[in-house]
Symmetry: C2
Subunit: 689 residues, 2 copies
């Protein structure tokens, strides 16, 4: 069995090597003209300043939580250590991804002057650096944990600590970055596009650099931390379930013969996914045609190939570890469900299909009908993913019990390396487009970056659907792990504990309702935070237009740094409350209402969270693309009344799809992993009331 | 014990007598000028035509379902008969309420010319007719059921049939009426206010009569059916729980000593509520000051007094039937929670408080920020009601087990007579205002109707909060009844069945997810239906302005009847799918995934339904009032950019708060009562997969 840990570590090292190769490729490209380099330097400075301040705040938080974990008798310092390690890995994944993105934007702007394909290569490969780093750091982190603590009797308590660290950093990074990016974007648009009638990314707009910085800190660093935690949490959930299953009499032993298998199966599936993703990444190539279809097909070829290869590697892993073949079916159903959820997202958000076209049509009668139509579309789009998740759960359970449900989530996330690459490339292309606009390059160059950006929007929407589906399965697996860990810690039979969590127990019902309200309150807070910060930005940009003489005429320069400062300060201030509430509420529910209510709480948060996350992501995506469809000439094109209505829809959708929605994914997993960490503390504790 | 049935029937007869007295008062008022009578006649004709067509469609549906219920061996023709009876009672409640409303509008318009107080009296008393009819028909219907079938051994199967009939009619009436009223309203506003710049309710607008008709068929008839089903379902749930509890060994016998008590306690509480509501209604009086505060206090005095009196009567009922005093505490907690939920709604939707003022402030930066701010407010407003419901559940359970949870719902709904009166008066005042505008009466008269209308908006919002809270408790009680009824029918111990519905059973999880997605899909369908129908109205009004010469100049009349026809046809066509899906999905889940998954399904629908219903109702209410605040002069007042942004928010909120949101209340109870009806059919059946 020593071979398996070697394979796992080798796959991680291979991932890092590919990331290094891609980074080398990106960095050796030309940085472009003096003007491009100047803009890029401003973005880099702002992004690093934000991340520095954010990480300093997070460091305080991490130290505080570590101390708490350390002094709680049922947990201890090793759990605290795992927590710190998870937090550092998560921060590292975000930092490395952003470091390359802020260097790739200028190089993409320069490359796209040569050819579309060259631009795609540079931006996509910078995305691949991040994708590979996320999965490599994830698998290496877990392997190191195993090598150091594998023989520790408290190992079952230690692993969730790692996930807790990763999830905590992720929620702050996602919320903080999300507030930053959308507040800057909305603020810049309201004054620039709506009030002053100047184009997007116009250098006269004081918020334009803040907008570019936002793409990097929110859509790259925030997303990196987010996907890192999805990845490791799904593996941790499966490991915990498998390990406890080997002690338990309730689960079928034949599924997971021993603890080593329980440990290595998810890691090997993940390792196979890394290799499959690498192959997929090298398959992404495109010709010179400026066609959405061709670009999309290039990326699809990569992701589909990676999915098929992952399935093959998973089969080999199951065979090699002589685990039950049912486990393979569970992994396969996870992979297929993930791909189909992505396709469903595509259907509801791409302007090739009816739902988005109907929103564009509704824009003819004004912003009100556009909003209602888009929101209805978002609500309707919850149906296919939920049905796919339900079918996946039932099939995975049929073949491999609750272990199957967990490992289906690992299967879904195994191709994260390439999924993340396609996701992270979008903001780089977006930044490159902005740099092209600001440095006054000819319109045909901007057309090329626009094509890359539009593709990024579509892949981002698909990626979001995929992330939400995976979050649902992972959170469920964590919830099941919580039940197993709790019953083991409390020394009661799992079957008895499960029977006590009756859906109709008033404590479970109370937990369900409280859990269901958490995502709503969380979204309200993040949406309001974006509103507040963008209000400050609007006032600052208006002030600069008013007070700086010659700004509108282009003879004076705006003070970009002031908008960057406001965004940094406000978004960091406002990321704290939603993050703290997410962390504190499961603890309060567990201690006050007891471990049964906590299970209900998690389930309530998962179901409502899933519905809201899908609604927000897809409503936002479809508003965005309905606007793009009108801009392409439908219903009077740019500047028409329909276009104005569609711009309103896009403004509404932005904070939903890029701040509130994605943060929900982390929220539902974070509450679940806190429950898992808390399980030993709650043992034998029935709540205060 | 015969005395109790006499008291119950007498309270129903007293309610009808008060309704007759109020109707007599309203009908003897002057009908106003020739012009007023002409407009009122057109509204009456349209409203009756809609109700006629709607009831014909519903008759087909009712016959079909009755046959199905009759031929299913586990149910039978008596269940079918109860279903028909429930459907007729529900239809009757809506019809009677609307009959008086369409006669009270002209009389209110005439009365308000004399004085504000006179106007309030006429409109409020017409609302009281409806409120009293709803509760009187409800209590008499249930009493008749008891007198006829009380000794039938299948009685436990028969009662839910009555609720099923009431709920089915209610969902179609609420959805159909809701689509009608909001499509006509939005359609009229888009062409009239936005495109042509003519005032609201201007006689040149072809959709204006359809808009008035909509107030009656949606906000009066639809709401009547809605509240009727809330009322009877809560009583039925409590009766079923209490009756089965007397057979069961799992529940504490001392709570409900015998079956007669189980039967009569909720009926007596309801009877006490009727008497309390009547006293409260007579306490509603107001001076001549045109102040919102004074008007609101007049209504509050009535509802608060009714709540206190209901508590006293409930105590007497518990004492008189020598039931456990714990039951009284459960009733009391229900009454208090209902009042507090109403207050919380008031806080989140009235422009006296910060949340709505913040939305008005956000309107300064455009429609996008207005929408995001209002939606965030709606999401945030879910917190207090959910916490109140959770606290009420835990306290009621502590004092009186699951029976307490059910009877807390009865307590909350006992004052429905007066709550419904304050609710139903709003559309009458709204109609009267429109008639005043259309018949060219002086502006000071319109100011008086506007004051009455604004008050109606506030009470409507409070009433909605209250209805949602009660729906949550009632649905939960029905779900508990389902579990009891199922375990009894399947001849298994209740405790065993409850233990088998483990929150972590994959079938329960599958049910939960599917249940959670139902409200989202349901809302998407109703929102889209409003969009489609208002699109047709917009095109028709535009066509008339284009094709009828002299219409804009006021020398020709529009063809009102065509808009009325389009609304009638389209809304009836589009009410069918959402209604059928609600009815079919619990049956499919029960038969395919089994009785355990069905319990999960109901819980998923209740939690997500509650969150969406509160969000939609309060976001809609606060958008409406933020607009009113700006119209009162804030941020530039009428015609300013902030006002235009706020109008968009109001347009978005309208279908949410008046179509999708309220229909959700019925939906969650309807799915639960179907499960209860289905329980004997599912007995011993574990699902196909």
């Amino acid at each position: 069995m020593e071979l398996t840990i070697i394979i796992t570590i080798l796959s991680g090292i291979l991932g890092l090597a590919v990331a290094a190769f891609m980074a080398y490729y990106v960095l050796k490209q030309s940085q472009g003209s003096e003007r491009i380099r100047e803009i890029s330097a401003a973005i880099k400075e702002g992004a690093l300043a934000f991340l520095g301040r954010e990480y300093r705040i997070l460091a305080i938080f991490v130290v505080a939580v570590t101390i708490i974990l350390g002094v709680v008798p049922a947990l201890g310092w090793l759990v605290g250590l795992a927590f710190v390690f998870g937090a550092i890995c998560s921060g590292l994944a975000g930092f490395v991804g952003m470091s390359i993105a802020i260097r790739a934007n200028s190089r993409t702007a320069a490359a796209v002057q040569k050819s579309l394909n060259h631009g795609l290569m540079v931006s996509f490969r910078s995305g691949a650096v991040m994708g590979m780093c996320v999965v490599a750091i994830g698998i290496l982190g877990l392997s190191i944990l195993y090598l150091v603590f594998g023989n520790n009797p408290d190992f079952l308590k230690i692993i969730p600590g790692f996930g807790f660290g990763a999830s905590s950093v992720a929620i702050f990074a996602r919320v903080g970055g999300g507030i930053y990016t959308k507040a800057a974007d909305t603020g810049a648009d309201i004054v620039g596009k709506v009030e002053k009638g100047i184009p997007e990314d116009d250098p006269r707009n004081a918020a334009v650099i803040a907008d570019f910085v936002g793409d990097n800190v929110g859509d790259v660093a925030g997303m990196g931390a987010d996907l890192f935690e999805s990845y490791v949490d799904s593996i941790i959930a499966t490991m915990t379930l498998g390990m406890i299953a080997t002690f338990s009499i309730s689960l079928d032993k034949s599924l997971v013969p021993d603890m080593t298998t329980a440990w290595f199966l998810p890691l090997l599936v993940a390792a196979g996914g890394i290799v499959a993703s690498i192959i997929g990444i090298f398959l992404v190539r495109v010709g010179e045609k400026l066609e959405m279809g061709a670009l999309l097909n290039a990326l699809r070829r990569g992701t589909f190939s990676a999915s098929i290869l992952t399935a093959i590697f998973a089969f080999l892993a199951v065979y090699f570890l002589s685990a039950d073949i049912g486990i393979f079916w569970a992994i396969l159903v996870g992979i297929i469900a993930g791909v189909l959820i992505g396709e469903s997202t595509n259907f509801f958000t791409s302007y090739v299909y009816k739902p988005t076209l109907r929103i564009a049509e509704a824009s003819q009668t004004g912003a009100g009908t556009n909003i209602v139509s888009g929101f209805a579309n978002g609500l309707m789009s919850t149906l296919p993913p939920v049905i796919l998740i339900v079918v996946a759960i039932l099939i995975a359970y049929y073949f491999a019990d609750v272990y199957g449900v967990a490992i289906a989530g690992v299967g879904m996330l195994a191709t994260l390396g390439i999924q993340d690459a396609t996701d992270a490339y979008g903001p780089v292309a977006d930044n490159a487009g902005g740099i092209v606009e600001m440095s006054g390059l000819p319109p045909e160059i901007r057309q090329r970056t626009d094509a890359l950006d539009a593709l990024g929007n579509t892949t981002a929407a698909t990626g979001k659907g995929f992330a939400i589906g995976a979050a649902g399965l992972t959170a469920l697996a964590l919830l099941l792990s919580y039940a197993l860990a709790y019953s083991r810690a409390a020394e009661i039979e799992l079957a008895d504990f499960l029977a006590s969590i009756s859906l109709l127990d008033p404590h479970v019902i109370a937990g369900l309702f409280l859990g269901a309200v958490l995502p709503a309150v969380f979204c309200a807070m993040t949406l309001n935070a974006v509103g507040k910060t963008s209000f400050s930005i609007v006032n600052e940009v208006r002030r600069q237009f008013r007070e700086i003489p010659g700004l509108m005429e282009g003879t004076a320069k705006p003070e970009y740094a002031r908008c960057v400062d406001i965004c940094t300060r406000d978004s960091i201030k406002q990321m704290i409350a939603p993050g703290i509430i997410t962390i504190v509420s499961p603890i309060v529910v567990g201690l006050v209402l007891g471990p049964i209510a906590l299970a209900g709480f998690l389930m309530g948060a998962i179901t409502t969270g899933l519905i809201l996350a899908i609604t927000f992501a897809n409503a936002g995506g479809s508003w965005d693309n309905a606007k793009k469809w009108i801009e392409a000439g439908a219903y009077g094109g740019k500047g028409s009344d329909a276009h104005k209505a569609a711009v309103v829809g896009d403004t509404v959708g932005d904070p939903m799809k890029d701040t509130a929605g994605p943060s929900l994914n982390i929220m539902i997993k974070l509450t679940a992993i806190i429950a898992l960490v808390l399980a030993p503390v709650l043992a034998g504790f029935s709540g205060l009331i």
